[in-house]
């Protein structure tokens, strides 16, 4: 069982009418790895994310998430909120989706909704002041503090999330996703709009999430300084099809990847097309 990957995506296909956004995509996310999903704009990366996290129902394919105790979750059959709550997959969004009118701390408390809901006896016992809600509430603040500390947001804890600068909002979204205690963290372009220093900081944060918190990461990213630096495994998509899969150095030197990103010389077009299978 130990060889079982955390997430196994098999023959994932997503069609929107006549448009094939993702075409027969298969890849694995290994436990404790940082896996990057890259590709040119419009390659279908975010669609893959939306399928994994349940925001889209895939047209075809199977996505199996395996927990440490061996239990399987078939993600394509679960509604989005159960994927987060039960299969333990958390995500962030390309265009940040924070609760802007709530404080930073409140954002992190909302993320612990399901744990607190149980502790409050589904509100009824908490309302009457019996049961362990008080202790659970204190524990949730402690956990929020841990993540505030880790993302260096402690000073801004009582400010509205909408007041934070862009880079802080990105980190807060990661902290919020981590507060749901995920096994797999899906990050949709976490480095978009960050300056080089902030990107470096993000690298360290993601490494620490993998090492200290034991959470596997799947990320979409355009910033190659992030991708090549931290990922163990890279999957390259182009027009919805996987064109390469392997270690960062392998992908970097793959002619198909270079062709997809940079294009090729005119005289090489036919050779490359034959190789790609066009």
């Amino acid at each position: 069982m130990s060889t079982q990957p955390l997430l196994k995506v098999e023959h994932l296909t997503m069609r929107f009418g006549g448009l094939v956004a993702v075409n027969d995509l298969s890849f694995d996310v290994q436990k404790g790895n940082i896996t990057a999903l890259i590709g040119p704009n419009g390659a279908g990366k975010t669609t893959v994310f939306n399928c994994i996290t349940g925001f889209y129902k895939p047209t075809e394919g199977m996505m199996t998430l395996t927990h440490a105790d061996g239990s399987h979750y078939l993600l394509e059959r679960m509604p989005d909120f159960r994927i987060a709550a039960e299969a333990k997959v958390a995500r962030t969004f390309q265009n940040i989706r924070l609760f802007t009118g709530m404080t930073v701390l409140e954002n992190l408390l909302v993320a612990q909704h399901n744990v607190l809901m149980k502790a409050s006896g589904y509100t009824i016992m908490g309302l009457l002041g019996i049961g362990g809600y008080k202790a659970a509430s204190a524990a949730s603040v402690e956990k929020a503090k841990y993540w505030l500390d880790k993302t260096r947001l402690t000073d801004r804890a009582d400010d509205p999330a909408g007041d934070l600068p862009y880079g802080d909002q990105r980190r807060l979204e990661i902290a919020r996703a981590m507060c749901t205690e995920p096994l797999l963290l899906c990050l949709d372009e976490p480095a978009a709009g960050l300056n080089p220093r902030e990107s470096l900081e993000l690298n360290n944060l993601l490494r620490s999430i993998r090492k200290d918190d034991g959470v596997s990461v799947l990320l979409i990213e355009h910033d190659m300084s992030v991708v090549m630096e931290i990922s163990d495994h890279v999957v390259v998509l182009d027009y919805g099809t996987k064109i390469s899969d392997g270690t960062p150095s392998h992908v970097q030197n793959d002619p198909k990847v270079i062709a997809a990103y940079l294009g090729v010389e005119d005289e090489e077009v036919e050779a490359v097309e034959a190789e790609v299978g066009l």
Binding site: R82, M102, T103, E106, L109, V110, G126, A157, D158
Partner: protein
């Protein structure tokens, strides 16, 4: 605030300042008023003795309207210019008063509640046993019903961000549940329970209304924003039309009369030997019931506020607010948005139902006339004008919106200004509309637009209304 104004001004190009620009703008507003008031105010019609229609020119009234708008606009523009120039607010709280006010703020809620509990006594002291009925009933009870309804709807609209235009439906469900149970079911089954009818039916009415809230909630779960508003509006009308047309059930337009009044925990308010007055050795007057009703609705409204305050600090309350901020993010965090929406709908509806039962018991007679769309609109206006999500704001708005027009009736002195024939009550809706426009200009996000955070690490800082979203259903 001044900072923000400046930035906006800078963005919108060169600023036109000076009294000339203000005069120009005021003249323009005056011109519009002139155009608008010609068809409405300039000519009045009346029938003379021979039944002929006579046109009365009222150009003086037009002149008054234009002058008021001109001066008002001039003052508003000049004030805005001064503020943009860094002049600050017209009335600034002196520096020395700031700490005093800061200490006063936490004591505000107990003070207000204390005043509300003392209100009947105060009104009896000032206007005697007879005169106080009006104050306690028309002002106290009436306003508190709307405060409770406002706080109930605040859960749905203010916290969860679900725009509900048919809230009056749940008010009607509560009122009719109590009316039907108390006049038909209980006399037919356990007539001994007659005096306790209200106390038994109060929770039942709340639960039934909450059930209807869930029933409405299910089909509209997938709708958002404007679409949700339209469907809830239709639902409110449906309930009213059913009540009108299903005469076997609700006696249609005739309504239900003879609804038992609430008892003082089993002791009825009447002149009999076992009545309230006789039991406590007092002389009988109907005001005891009025006072009792006042305290009853006060406690019910405070219960609504208490539950709202408690729930906001609990996961379900935070999930409501998160839902208002961003539904997709909620789902990505494992929050079941279906049940979250349904709890908001049903809890809001439940409080509406309890208020409805109280209304039926207070009036002793209900008919579908009491549950028109106008009621929904007034309750929603209270929530929106008060500032969505703010209990203080909603309470203040209810006092202004319900008490204000009521107060217009009392303004005898206006007769001295406008002549003997002037009837202030006829203008109350006009003033009501004017007040709404003023609030829209002055406080577009409601009277209290800031949001109190539900948890804090070091210091609780109010969240500015500009960050808080209104929800999209």
């Amino acid at each position: 605030m001044a900072k923000v104004d400046k930035r906006i001004v800078e963005q919108s190009g060169p600023l036109k300042t000076g009294p000339m620009a203000a005069l120009k703008e005021a003249a323009f507003a005056g011109l519009i008023t002139f155009g608008l008031s010609i068809p409405i105010i300039a000519y009045g019609t009346r029938q003379d003795i021979n039944n002929r229609l006579v046109l009365d020119a009222r150009w003086d009234a037009v002149a008054w309207a234009v002058a008021i708008v001109f001066i008002g606009r001039l003052l508003v523009t000049l004030n805005a210019q001064r503020r943009a120039a860094g002049g600050g607010k017209l009335m600034r709280v002196p520096q020395s008063l700031q700490p005093v006010l800061g200490r006063l703020m936490p004591a505000l809620a107990p003070l207000a509640i204390g005043f509300l509990f003392a209100f009947p006594v105060i009104s009896i002291v000032f206007s005697g046993w007879q005169g106080s009925t009006k104050w306690i009933d028309n002002f106290g009870v009436q306003i508190l019903i709307y405060v409770m309804l406002g706080w109930g709807l605040n859960i749905v609209v203010g916290l969860a961000g679900l725009l509900d235009l048919g809230y009056v439906a749940f008010y009607a469900v509560g009122a009719y549940s109590y009316a039907l149970f108390a006049t038909k079911v209980i006399p037919a089954t356990y007539p001994v329970l007659g005096v306790w009818a209200f106390w038994i039916c109060l929770p039942v009415a709340g639960i039934l209304a909450a059930f209807w809230g869930i029933l409405l909630g299910f089909p509209v779960l997938r709708l958002r924003g404007d679409y949700l508003a339209i469907v809830t509006l239709a639902f409110g009308e449906m309930i009213r039309l059913v009540l009108i047309n299903w005469t076997d059930f609700s006696q249609g337009y005739a309504g239900i009369s003879g609804i038992p009044r609430p008892s003082f925990f089993g002791i009825p308010f009447n002149a009999n030997d076992n009545g309230f007055a006789a039991t406590f050795g007092l002389e009988f007057t109907p005001i005891y019931r009025t006072i009792f009703l006042y305290y009853l609705i006060l406690v019910l409204a405070l219960l609504t506020a208490f539950v709202t305050i408690r729930l906001r600090r609990m996961p379900v309350g935070r999930a409501w607010e998160a839902l208002r901020e961003d539904e997709i993010a909620c789902r990505s965090l494992g929050i079941n948005t279906t049940t979250t929406k349904l709890t908001a709908f049903s809890l809001g509806a439940g409080f509406g139902g309890v208020a409805g039962a109280f209304f039926a018991a207070k009036q002793g007679f209900i008919s579908p006339e009491s549950f028109t769309f106008m009621e929904s609109a007034v309750i929603l206006a209270i929530v929106v004008l008060g500032g969505m999500g703010s209990l203080w704001g909603v309470a203040i708005a209810a006092v202004v919106m319900i008490g204000g027009p009521e107060l217009m009736r009392e303004m005898e002195f206006t007769k001295a200004i406008f002549g003997k024939d002037f009837d202030p009550t006829q203008y109350r809706m006009l003033i009501f509309g004017l007040a709404m426009v003023v609030i829209m200009i002055w406080k577009p996000r409601g009277l209290i637009s800031t949001r109190e955070p539900t948890a804090f690490l070091k210091q609780s800082k109010a969240v500015s209304g500009s960050h808080v979203k209104e929800g999209h259903g």
